[in-house]
Symmetry: C2
Subunit: 689 residues, 2 copies
Amino acid sequence: MSQTIDRTSKVPAAQQEKPVVDVAALGERLMGRWAAERRASRELAATPAMQRIPGQTMAEHRERVLEQLKILVEHKSVHKAFPKSVGGLEDAGGNIAQFEELLLADPSLQIKSGVQWGLFGAAVMHLGTEKHHTKWLPGIMSLEIPGAFAMTETGHGSDVSAVGTTATYDESTQEFVIHTPFRAAWKDYLGNAALHGEAAVVFAQLITKGVNHGVHAFYVDIRDKDKNFLPGIGGEDDGLKGGLNGIDNGRLHFTNVRIPRENLLNRYGDVAEDGTYSSPIASPGRRFFTMLGTLVQGRVSLDGASVVASKLALTIALSYGSQRRQFTAASDTEEEVILDYQRHQRRLLPRLAETYAMSFAHDVFLEKFDAVFTGRADTDEDRQDLETLAAALKPLSTWAALDILQEAREACGGNGFLAENRLTLLRADMDIYATFEGDNNVLLQLVAKRLLTDYSKKFAGADAGALAQYVAGQVGDATLNRTGLRKLAQSIVDFGSTARSVGYVRDADAQRQLLTDRVQSMIAEIAGRLRDAGKLPKMEAAQLFNSNQNALIEAARAHGELLQWEAFTEAVEGIEDAGTRQVLTWLRDLFGLGLIEKHAAWYLIHGRISAQRAQAITSYIDDRLLPRLREYALPLVAAFELSPELIGAPIALGAEKERQDEAMLYYREQRESGTAPIAEKAPAKPVRA
Amino acid sequence: MSQTIDRTSKVPAAQQEKPVVDVAALGERLMGRWAAERRASRELAATPAMQRIPGQTMAEHRERVLEQLKILVEHKSVHKAFPKSVGGLEDAGGNIAQFEELLLADPSLQIKSGVQWGLFGAAVMHLGTEKHHTKWLPGIMSLEIPGAFAMTETGHGSDVSAVGTTATYDESTQEFVIHTPFRAAWKDYLGNAALHGEAAVVFAQLITKGVNHGVHAFYVDIRDKDKNFLPGIGGEDDGLKGGLNGIDNGRLHFTNVRIPRENLLNRYGDVAEDGTYSSPIASPGRRFFTMLGTLVQGRVSLDGASVVASKLALTIALSYGSQRRQFTAASDTEEEVILDYQRHQRRLLPRLAETYAMSFAHDVFLEKFDAVFTGRADTDEDRQDLETLAAALKPLSTWAALDILQEAREACGGNGFLAENRLTLLRADMDIYATFEGDNNVLLQLVAKRLLTDYSKKFAGADAGALAQYVAGQVGDATLNRTGLRKLAQSIVDFGSTARSVGYVRDADAQRQLLTDRVQSMIAEIAGRLRDAGKLPKMEAAQLFNSNQNALIEAARAHGELLQWEAFTEAVEGIEDAGTRQVLTWLRDLFGLGLIEKHAAWYLIHGRISAQRAQAITSYIDDRLLPRLREYALPLVAAFELSPELIGAPIALGAEKERQDEAMLYYREQRESGTAPIAEKAPAKPVRA
């Protein structure tokens, strides 16, 4: 099977006036700061032992993934994030980068690793203190202690502060009593809980001296070495799921299980022998969010894994689309390559642009994460920014990955449905990425609240008039921009030539202005509607807020899109090779103009673009950007640097081309030898039967 | 487990001024003309023997579905469509209706039945003649002859006219020689081909006397009773797929396989002993499309099955959404039911409206199908209308089902991901519905071509000026409407009150006008751009057409949406009960206004609605329609009449409510008994740690 993506591919010499993409340099840029970690992880992911075997039963798949975790340990792939005191490297960013790439082998492997080291291990690390690290981290790192992260309950996923499990301190024995008071408080959907877990970090309401101090984390042994539940502990297997069946998700419940006082992971809250509670963070609310904030790495790695999956999906679909032929629209003998059809370009190329945007945005995100968790930039504000970034990007990228996998599947037709071509199984696995580590819709509300808070800080005490003025005047506001921008006023009535209409929005500053303006205006409008919420009774305030919930989520999404666009633009500006920069500028334009086209109704309603300009944007995408970028589809996916072993899908590795070539040769030989049957002549005049 | 949907549910007495839905009558209306067939099929689908067992291996699942086909035979569920001459009932509509409902048990069962009786059997029936019926249909009906429908090849799916398989007539032996000339011409993705099929209807280029008469169908035995391939025939198993793994899809190839001349299914084309070809249809193109047209029932049943799946998905998600609670926004003690959140309503209620529209549109479609295939209304034009209906509705409903299943999955959170709650497995199975029986994007192009043809017939010989005038004047055109309508002119500048803005579009005639106008204008615009295509060389014409491909597909989609809206409106007008009619009118408005909102950019660009009106539509949906319809969510899904056995998903059958009630009782008792721990007091003044 021949490899169809040429790493050194350049546009043919005959077209040398056209820009040329430096695939190798672009590939390096896409790999980003942790290129070495990513490449090492891909090398491992390319080995058969780490890859999924489609069609395994759930039981077989679970055992296989457990064995793969042991291989990761042997390869010393799991120590990076942990403290140097226990043999780790304290390399937060490199650790995440390498785990993201494991998705290429099998998402179950990525997620089960994430459960063991990114959730269970990270909770001990971030919520525990030195004594906990010394005691448990070595066993966690070596997989001697497989563990579960017991936060979510059947009854509470999004609202973790309301979990039902209690941890009540008993002064007389200096123990916590972990207890599940009702069925909805069973811990649920926990990886490692159904079979392999021997311990768990259990999140429970900490109660001492009759006071509930809110949710804290406790280290609890749950099974003995023979995998039998310890006394007081029970559980169930979650059974078959829509995907990720290499992970043994399950439920746990606790009946007055006693654990030593020291098993409270006490970095942010402790209980003295006499039951006195203390915390370095006075506000219970802030304490809770600080604890949860240490676990943001799950969101980082889902965002990164979604980027990886999107790259793989588009590598498959664009490779196939460049070889598959169907219908003879333009020739009597040779069929069209399907990527030459406009619709096919419309389906895949904007998604390629989105993938680039997601990839560059993820770099910014991972960089921020690394800065916070290595302590380079770790103020309260840094942490809040990181959380907002996580809450904005993870929903967009996880949804995008599902959309891209689906479109890629459909673009590969029946071939796309075969398990061997990977798209369907990957999509099934990644479905739940939209829900875990924070439901996407809930996360976007967190973003919106942050945007509203920032907005109201800026306008503290402002009356309705000032707000209205802000809304009216913000066309010229550029607080989110790094450069001064000309006003958009003329756009409202620009009935000039189409070329002029397009010329304007092709400009990066204009795209930035339009995207920024939309976020600001949406938030300002909502803030205006919510301005009296504070004065209302709780129920009415809730109703008012609820009647703006959909608009809030849309504003948060617009904010995330702007972040992606900014990251893409910054990356393009940093590229030195002129040809590559030109092609990526087109791709960035496709992303930016695609967003403006998608939200054209908003821009038209708010007078930000004219009807003529809105139409010009669509024409520019269809008639210019798509045909131009179609020529670079293969170099642009080649820069993803996915080896044949990582791509896996036969249809992306030459099988289709081989078949097409053979068929074309057959017909050509028939024509040339004169052995082709002649076509039945149509009757001179169509006769109706 | 309690049943959560009350078949007799009415809105509580306290709210009697509000309209009441007559659930039973609405259910009867939704069941439609073939209610008896649907109910009988559902009864069978509700039995454990017919239902899918999640987690079975591919091999187990395939065997199980084969056994289920035998149960269908025993229940005399497969004879309906076949000729009376062989013991059938010639009940085309009733037959399809019953097969659609089998999806509730397992989509693999629906599709494998469809392969055996709807494709393989139907090809013998529609493309063969009396002698073929007598010889093979009894064995096909009894499953004595399991068979494959060998049309698609690895290299040709959408463009069936270009399949590579040949059937060359040999006068000397009076046989056809079936041959596969290259790998791309292997028959592929065929149900029954990997294991069970003993015969196949093979589509091949009919060549006699050196002339290729185009694709015809041939009956070919492929395996003996021990399931060994006959000489000259080989194949492969397609292996694991993204879904539908209860079907043994596979590949077949033929090496000079000789079959008797009589095995040509000769209704539309025959070869005499001496090799002379004859056909009742002189034009090879029309002949081909007539043959394919007889096989439209696949599209009908995928459309219907998508409606059934959407009903099931929304029954599950809306039942769960009415019981699941999360966050205490409006109360200090009781959490909110998640369907009370605006976003949750936005996610599910427009999809409920869409499902109603799809359901009523499917009734129209099935009625038309029945009229054509029972001969009640079977002119050329009827058949063309049926095919256009099929090509417009099947893409919309199969895509909608995937979208609805996914949104329902996400709306059920982690619970939605468990296989037992069905949404993920159903979605995985139905993924390929977007591709088979005609790729959705290809089908929509057929619709667009029909719309263009109709348009150009109307304007045959018209010059560019006449076309332009049409575009300008069509605001008042009502050719697609059944009623005269007032002009929309005032809408362009209606800066009146919001109430007036909304009042106008709430009107059914205005919705019809806006939706109709959009289809007509889009087609007129494209026709204008394509008007010189006929004069261009083939390649340039193809390029011109290609540069309008995306717009064509969007126009076709708009046409399909209009058909759905018309069907919904007609159904609402036929409902006698005032309360039901009122609620369904709101639901229809949500569908219609939702379409206008979705396409608001087009309406704004083309001056059909003002900015103010566009905003008023969104406000009307958010502030009026969603809160109103939220109260009727359960009666509206109750009218789908899905029994607990058919719903299957535990979260939709009371498990969630039971858990929520238990938890609420626990906390209430704690509060009342004074044993609840008190919450930690927040510090008087927030202190930053």
